[in-house]
Amino acid sequence: MNRLASTRWHVVSLLRCFVVTFNSSASSGESVCFDCLSSEDRFPQRQSRNDTSFFLFRWLVVSLLLLNGCGGYIQRMVTRSLERIGEPVESAPMMISTPVLDNPPLAISWVGHATVLVQIRDKVFITDPLFTDYIGMVVKRYVGPGLDPSLLPRIDFTLISHIHMDHFSFGSLDMLPKNGTLVIPQGLLRYTPDFGFRGLKELKPWESIEEDGVRVTAVPVQHFSGRYGIDNAWLGQKGYTGYVFEYAGTTVFVGGDTGYHPELFKEIGRRFPIDVALLPIAPGSLTNLGGRVHVGPLGALTIMQDLGAAYMVPMHHRTMFYGSDSNPTQAIESLRSLAAQMGLSDRIIDLDIGEQRVLRLNSEGLPAGLP
């Protein structure tokens, strides 16, 4: 190829990336202008988007992400999303039709990613609500949410685990009913618009709020902070947390996004009798406990054991590309296999996206097993 043609190809590719990336309404995935220019005659050297065409845009994105203190896994999420521009988001395999039930002992619904709807009796909790197709403008989800947020009559507590855009989504929070309390980790007040929730509470590690018989406690986990680049440098350990919420004798742990720590989760387990742990299982190693800020399936199972949790709900997988997965279901398949080897299968509440499960209680009013 001659140099001029090569240069033109890179320039046009870059323009195409910008055009289609920042035009979220593009349904065909091909901008008209680019189609005019992209005939094979003009660009005979055109190969897959993976190789040449996205090189420049990747370089820009990587530069931004490095500035943002993010690792390579987010870069891969972004580039994988760019390759899927124009493709429709896959519908959730199931849809929750009645999100709020009539006084269930404990109902758990996985909406997708880290969004879990939990109902204990008359109280409704939602974690890290994410209903948008795009996260942070450029990361695209594989599978849509398993719940239409307009079906929610009320949410008593909306729990935000951390500052990152896949867990603290402004567009998604705008879709929720505002008749409850929005709970955020220390450091997020200066990032929280006026959404109009009835209550807004920022919690430091181990700090609790109590409302109407519900106690929500922020508990430390191991992740990282920063939303807009350099703020990661001064937020430090602010901006991320886990939660434990207790109501009517039932205790639920929310992991949010976390790496493994050998003491942290044992300490939480000593302080709270955890019935159910909502734990991320990706992105992270499939063969060891995971990295500093994320766990894989083995790390999540180890956290469940450290917490002494009776059950675990795996989440933070399948919904989008998680970097270390070669296919979207690899993490959950690995979890099933590992849980079987460790004799923990009957303690895994393995929900599909959009699936709702009601747990029955034993004679003491505690969750007694899977239905």
Partner: protein, 177 residues
């Protein structure tokens, strides 16, 4: 004109007292080097046109889109959320314009800018409107400003228009806090 800029800076220091108290030396040490990165601008003013660099600071910003548990006043270090959820700010800037003839001009400006959130509370897209005064070559010119911001309030594309003579300045600005 000097009094105008002096009062802007003074307003910044005064508002600092009413603004957030989280600011620390570490925060400033990280923030400040990024402010030294210039914005890029193209200008067209008959008979000259050229290229320019611009360094912007916000002595004071009032946000009306944030939660009510924090002060709406910010000075210098401004969380992007405070700006793009809806705000009015004073912006002071220094510019270095170069012409095709190789001459350079220094300029200083002060703007009153309003930011209106359009998509995802402004995190994805905002509309910017403002008015400002430029001091260049011993003349003071009034400019009207309009533009958009995207990518979490970090990338701003603004068009500035002044009369007598008619001048257009197109600027691509990167604000990191």
């Amino acid at each position: 004109m000097k009094k105008f800029f002096l009062s802007l800076v003074l307003a910044g220091f005064v508002s600092q007292a009413a603004a957030q108290t989280e600011t620390s030396e570490e925060r400033f040490g990280v923030w400040f080097p990024f402010q030294l990165l210039p914005n890029l601008s193209l200008y067209s003013s008959s008979p000259l046109s050229g290229f320019g660099f611009e360094w912007e600071f916000t002595p004071v910003l009032y946000t009306f889109g944030m939660n009510k548990q924090i002060s709406p006043w910010y000075a210098f270090i401004v969380e992007p959320t405070a700006r793009f959820t809806g705000s009015i700010e004073l912006v002071v800037a220094g510019q270095l314009f170069t012409t095709k003839m190789g001459r350079s001009y220094f300029a200083a400006s002060g703007h009153l800018m309003g930011t209106i959130p359009l998509v995802e509370r402004g995190e994805h897209l905002t509309l910017n409107l403002g008015i400002g005064a430029y001091r260049i070559a011993d003349q003071t010119r009034i400019f009207k400003v309009a533009g958009i911001s995207t990518l979490f309030g970090m990338v701003h594309f603004n068009l500035k228009h002044g009369e007598n003579p008619t001048t257009w300045i197109i600027s691509l600005e990167f604000r990191i806090f």
